[in-house]
């Protein structure tokens, strides 16, 4: 009897163009993979352009990477991977049909994803104070300690500790034009990535609303599952962005 009700419930969510819930699920999943293929090519264009200029201007790009706080990027990588874990748990909760657990893990994912965005925003602020934003305030001479202020200075100090462990070679004081190009790529790529995360958080709020209304069941939970694919994809993009932008800093 319970099973019968569940099937009835699942059936009511099948849109008119589909024969059954199975076909709908298959279509939705394939649609998401096709969308991710588009996304790969979208980011791919940026990575290709970046790689070509990294090859063409190895030194200015290296100098640019030296200005990034790689430990903040590293922490963010860990944070984002954690959010992937909570997302996977949400998909698992959907598979067993527990709306309460879906809500719990999606909220966790939003919190952890929000933490990522917070750290990223902090980095942007540091880069703003250090006059590294192309087209806005990029300066060829790094600002003095007083100019950047104590907040940003503290991050500089931490960076100094790390740099003592693996000292970067040949750090130049003066910034070149091409270094500005590095920062342009850095901001475009990370900003598009962050946009994807913000969109993702918006979708998660919708999913939470749906779960609150007990819409998901073990039979029907395509949105959660496919959103999981999206979230993991956004994660993987960062896993490529982090070494590409932050870690290529030695000659």
């Amino acid at each position: 009897m319970t099973e019968h009700i569940a099937t009835e419930h699942a059936h009511s969510l099948v849109q008119h163009q589909f024969e059954d819930a199975y076909q709908q699920k298959e279509a939705a999943t394939l649609g998401m993979w096709a969308f991710l293929a588009t996304e790969v090519l979208f980011f791919g264009g940026l990575f290709v352009a970046y790689t070509i200029y990294r090859h063409q201007y190895p030194d200015p790009f290296r100098q640019g990477a030296l200005n990034l706080k790689w430990y903040l990027g590293g922490i963010n990588t860990a944070v984002l991977l954690l959010s992937s874990f909570t997302m996977a748990m949400a998909v698992h909760a959907a598979a067993i049909g527990s709306n309460a657990k879906i809500i719990r893990y999606l909220v966790l994912t939003i919190i952890v994803g929000g933490a990522f965005l917070g750290i990223k925003a902090t980095e942007y602020y540091i880069e703003y104070r250090e006059h590294l934003i192309p087209g806005l305030n990029f300066a060829h001479d790094p600002p003095s300690e007083e100019e950047v202020g104590p907040f940003v200075g503290a991050f500089e100090k931490v960076q100094g500790w790390f740099d003592r462990v693996v000292p970067p070679r040949q750090k130049e004081e003066k910034r070149s034009d091409t270094e500005e190009m590095f920062f342009l790529f850095y901001f475009i790529m990370t900003a598009i990535h962050a946009t994807h995360m913000i969109v993702g958080i918006g979708i998660m709020l919708v999913l939470i609303w749906m779960a609150k209304h007990e819409m998901f069941s073990a039979q029907w939970h395509n949105p959660v599952e496919n959103f999981g694919l999206y979230w993991h994809f956004v994660d993987i993009v960062w896993v490529f962005l982090f070494p590409t932008l932050y870690l290529l800093r030695q000659p």
Binding site: Q15, H16, Q17, F18, E19, Q23, E26, A27, L30, G31, A34, F35, A37, T38, E39, L41, F42, F43, G44, G45, L46, V48, A49, I52, Y53, Q56, Y57, P134, G135, F138, D177, T178, E180, M181, L184, I188
Partner: protein
Amino acid sequence: MTAIPYSPDYAAPQTGRTTYLNATHTIRSWLLTKDHKRIGILYMISITIFFMIGAGGAALVRINLLTPAGILSEPAQYNKAFTIHGVMMVFFFLVPSIPATLGNFLLPLMIGARDVAFPKINLASWYLLIIGSSFALSAILFGGVDTGWTFYTPYSSTFSNTHVVLMIVGIFINGFSSILTGLNFVVTIHKMRAPGMTWFRLPLFVWAMYATSLIFILGTPVIAITLALVAVERLLRVGIFDPALGGDPILFQHMFWFYSHPAVYIMILPSFGVISEVITCFARKRIFGYVFVAFSSVAIAIIGFLVWAHHLFDAGISVYSGLIFSLLSFLVAVPTAVKVFSWTATLYKGSVSLETPMLYALGFIGLFTIGGLTGLMLATLGLDVHLHDTYFVIAHFHYVMVGGAIMAYLGGIHFWWPKMTGKMYPEFWGKIAAAITFLGFNLTFFPQFVLGYLGMPRRYHAYPPEFQVYNVLSTAGASVLAVGYVLPLIYLLWSLKYGAEAGPNPFRSMSLEWQTPSPPPTENFERTPICSQPPYAYDLQTPMGSPVPTAAAT
């Protein structure tokens, strides 16, 4: 004709029936429709408007070139005219033309589905087209863009004083319309086929749509990000593609053509699909070499991604990559020739009848063959150095895009007009228009081959006086061509009210889309069809989806 083709829904009364057209009547019900057929009609109306704007640009270009000094008072106006023509025709007419109109309308009907997989996304992609085109049109209204449709850097990012960013935003948004259409089609073809509609029973139009959709999904995001980078460079004055700022203009050309060359196949592959459908129907024969034709579409899509740098032979790429891209470009000719051979072999010993769609299809074969063969000449590394950026190139791609894609689009519109509206177009005027289009087209573009061979460069508003006779011929041809395009617009609209009732299957086609009333009901089929017949079974007289499979059917 001894056997009478089976027609499951012929019995259904033609008048008083609820169809997708008369199910609801309000404007709102059209603007918020999720029905793929209505969305196809919405696309058809909008791209017809874009076509007329693009044609206006072409008219300015042709009028200007009547005299060697140029008729428009300033060269800058000429640049804006050909940019309007290129941008509107490529991004807003040709790319969505067959896929988004005929494809949207026919794809679910052809595979026996009630709708595409994601009807809401389908509607969203039409709205993206409208939003994108609004940006593009506002760029034109605020004074136009003078970069050409290719947006070559650093001119577009640094020197041009026109509304480049606005235009780029329009094309960027429109790109997502293409992507969503492609995504929808891929999923629909994979997952929504009716029982028994196996991959090798699919109409070849559907195979062509599948190949096109792959390019939509994999190519379009690259042009989106490339043009976005141009806009960023232009707004922030930080180098990406401008050599003065440390950027690499050749990289722009690589990334631009990585999409824009496959986009050529976005425009021509659907046309191949239309021609395959029309030829089989009016030759009353199975298509010759079905599997080869089906796979040739996919092969063209795949190889099409590997040939982009043949647009850069003169731009400073190494001679070795030039050689490789030249060879790869030749490869595309193989699957393309497979198609042309298949059509001619299908015509051989067929019971050919020359209705209007067939005239367009035969015109297509001739014009496309010229366009394709001159493409091989341009793919030849040495010859291209001579012909690059001349009118020879213009003539070549207009033979493919106009002689090919638009002929096929018009042929397809005529062929499926009874399906879409239930009305017959006037056959006499249809034939006249097809003939005028064919003649006008050749008169317009054949002289351009000569001009290009003699060395007249493209995109110049003036030319040496000895070229005038060819240019006047070309402009005269363009006027004839315009008549060929205006005629269908008039009589097709006329036929909506005064055309003869077409009946469900006026061309006695065996394809599934004709085995339901015309115009179809909102749900397409009264019951899900079961497909146990081979495609194009004109020899067996078994239409796709007929309930009683004959013994001979496989």
